[in-house]
Amino acid sequence: MIEARHLTKVFRHRKRGEIRAVDDVSFTCRPGSIYGLLGVNGAGKTTILRMLATLLQPTAGSASVAGLSVTDHPARVRARLGFLATSTALYGRLTARETIAYFGKLNDLSAEQITRRTEHLATELHMHDFLDRRVDTFSTGMKQKTSIARTLVHDPDVIIFDEPTLGLDVLAARTIIAFVRDCRDRGKTVIYSTHIMSEVEKLCDVIGVVHGGRLLAEGSHTELKERTGTSDMEEVFVRTIGAESAA
């Protein structure tokens, strides 16, 4: 489970002064469900996720992952969490197998556990053909599958996906989406951040619309559609952030 309570992040910039990247955001994501964070680039999604992944310290508010406070137990939170972001790249000179093993070791898995998990993930993500090739020879899809495998090597309870289909072709994107859905079906707590409306509609049980660092609306896509009086998800989004902008 993920719980965010009044989560706030303020950056102090020398020239631009105080920047409130995340402003009083609260939400809950339960096991066996996918919480979608929907927002344009720069809305504050990545900052929220970085705080949940303990990469950034909240300026105010609190958050817990699998019952552990992100500020009090950062290492234990990371051990229970899988974080996959567009900004999390791979080591080009390692093979996919070595990459998975590296993160397995950092998650304190034994050699036997690493071998077993590598085999399992390689089968699920169709990676056997390139498992022993160096990452710098990979296509974007191969890289993304390797990234997912290294994120999930320790079989975390909570998984955060930050724009995981960015730059992928349709087939690779479908594999990833199927995999995310599978994670939910196995009872994992999943946060899925994106600006692609169709993905949100297909995948997410609860959607949070983020704009200007604030959570403007929350609910299932049916609820949001009803609230905004439209059946198109893109229109839901535009009306939600439009109403805020007008206000």
């Binding site: 990469l55 900004s87 080591y91 993160f103 950092l106 998650n107 994120t151």
Partner: protein, 411 residues
């Protein structure tokens, strides 16, 4: 702190670096080839140049002395000089290196000598130019011999023994062991080179493992793992240190091999010179030698310096957003490092308690003493301790910086 995490990070960085051509070049190829290339290339070029200059007959212009046929004839008979006719533009020709030197014989030179009146011969030369220097040397030698013979003849004429002018002989003999002579000759250069190598060996991995990782986006991937920031810094720092030490050790080995081979070549040449009766012993004694224990100890002293360099370079590189930015921060630091190392080579700059606390300079000064076989233990301890304190402080700084969001996620 979980040392297993730090070891995992270190081993991964090592594997990654050993697969990187740029790291391999800076870590293995350059340090191994640097010393032999410097010695062989510099030695070969210098030897060839000097040999060529020695075999060349320099062109020398004879000015004046038309009324002194004796000295002109003696000069013209010199096989090591090619006398050219007098011309007014001799200064320009020397400056343009078309003429090696010129010599002006004063008017009435022969007669002045005959009558015992003082006379001055002037040699015109291009100061600092090797060929001109050789030509001037030949002219100088000729006139000294000429003067010597004249003195001998005058003394004989007056029935005075030559020992009257030379009541005693003066000789100089070296009592310092060869390693101390060697230490003085090259003791300053070796620490300079070692310090520079320790720095350059750490520079590339420091940039790659901090700024490079941030730029490629792999740093965030690593930060998502349960490894703490301290463990990550330690693993990465150990890799930078390994590269720095590998550079120094490989360079030291190649220096030892180069010196060993050079020594045997020198010895062979010296033996050949002895067989020809041409001062072989002098050649052998001219060969600088180093105190092996001191050389090893000075390498040990490099350890805290390498720790200091590795952590400082890693921390500064951490501030940079990209590899290129890190390069612009770190490259000028070479001067900051090489200046104190060079200061140590200056005459009169000797180790004292204050200098023993100045990083880099202290190790450079100590190494100079160590390779000469001087073991000043209180200073060795003080320098090791002070450099270790600086190294520990900079490593703490690295960890502190690694925990700052503004540094890790600078945009």
């Amino acid at each position: 702190m979980n040392l297993r995490h730090a070891t995992t990070v270190y081993l991964k960085e090592l594997k990654d670096s050993l697969r990187d051509r740029r790291t391999l070049v800076s870590m293995f190829v350059i340090p191994t080839l640097l010393m032999p290339v410097i010695f062989v290339a510099f030695g070969t070029v210098t030897t060839k140049l000097v040999r060529k200059v020695r075999t060349e007959t320099p062109t020398v212009m004879l000015l004046g002395g038309e009324d002194s046929p004796k000295v002109r004839a003696a000069l013209a008979a010199q096989p090591r000089l090619k006398i050219v006719p007098s011309a007014d533009d001799f200064r320009t020709r020397i400056s343009e290196k078309k003429l090696r030197a010129a010599v002006r014989i004063p008017d009435d030179f022969d007669r002045s000598l005959h009558e015992g009146r003082p006379a001055t011969v002037t040699i015109y030369t291009y100061e600092g130019e090797l060929r001109s220097g050789f030509a001037a040397g030949e002219i100088d030698r000729f006139f000294r011999d000429y003067r010597e013979k004249l003195i001998q003849a005058r003394l004989e004429e007056r029935g005075v023994p030559p020992s009257l002018l030379k009541p005693f002989e003066l000789t100089r003999q070296n009592v310092a062991p060869p390693e101390k002579v060697g230490g003085n000759l090259i003791g300053g250069i070796i620490p300079c080179v070692i310090i520079l190598l320790a720095f350059s060996g750490a520079m590339y991995p420091a940039m790659d493992l901090a700024a490079g990782e941030k730029e490629r986006g792999t740093m965030e991937t690593l930060l998502c793992s349960p490894a703490s920031h301290t463990e990550i810094v330690l693993g990465k720092f150990l890799m930078v240190l390994t590269a720095s030490l590998a550079t120094v050790v490989l360079s030291a080995l190649s220096t030892v091999v180069t010196f060993g081979l050079g020594a045997s070549l020198f010895a062979r040449e010296a033996m050949a010179s002895v067989a020809r009766g041409a001062g072989g012993a002098a050649v052998r004694h001219a060969l600088p030698s180093l105190h092996p224990g001191g050389f090893l100890l000075s390498l040990t002293m490099v350890l805290p310096v390498a720790i200091l360099f590795s952590s400082v370079l890693f921390t500064i590189s951490l501030f940079a957003k990209s590899y290129k930015e890190a390069q612009s921060y770190l490259s000028p630091l070479v001067i900051v490092v090489i200046l104190p190392a060079m200061l140590a080579t200056l005459p009169g700059v000797d180790l004292n308690a204050t200098l023993a606390c100045i990083p880099v300079l202290n190790v450079a000064l100590l190494s100079k003493e160590l390779v000469s076989g001087i073991f000043n233990w209180p200073y060795i301890t003080l320098i090791f301790l002070s450099t270790s304190v600086y190294a520990a402080a900079s490593l703490t700084w690295a960890v502190k910086m690694f925990n700052r969001e503004s540094v890790l996620f600078r945009s």
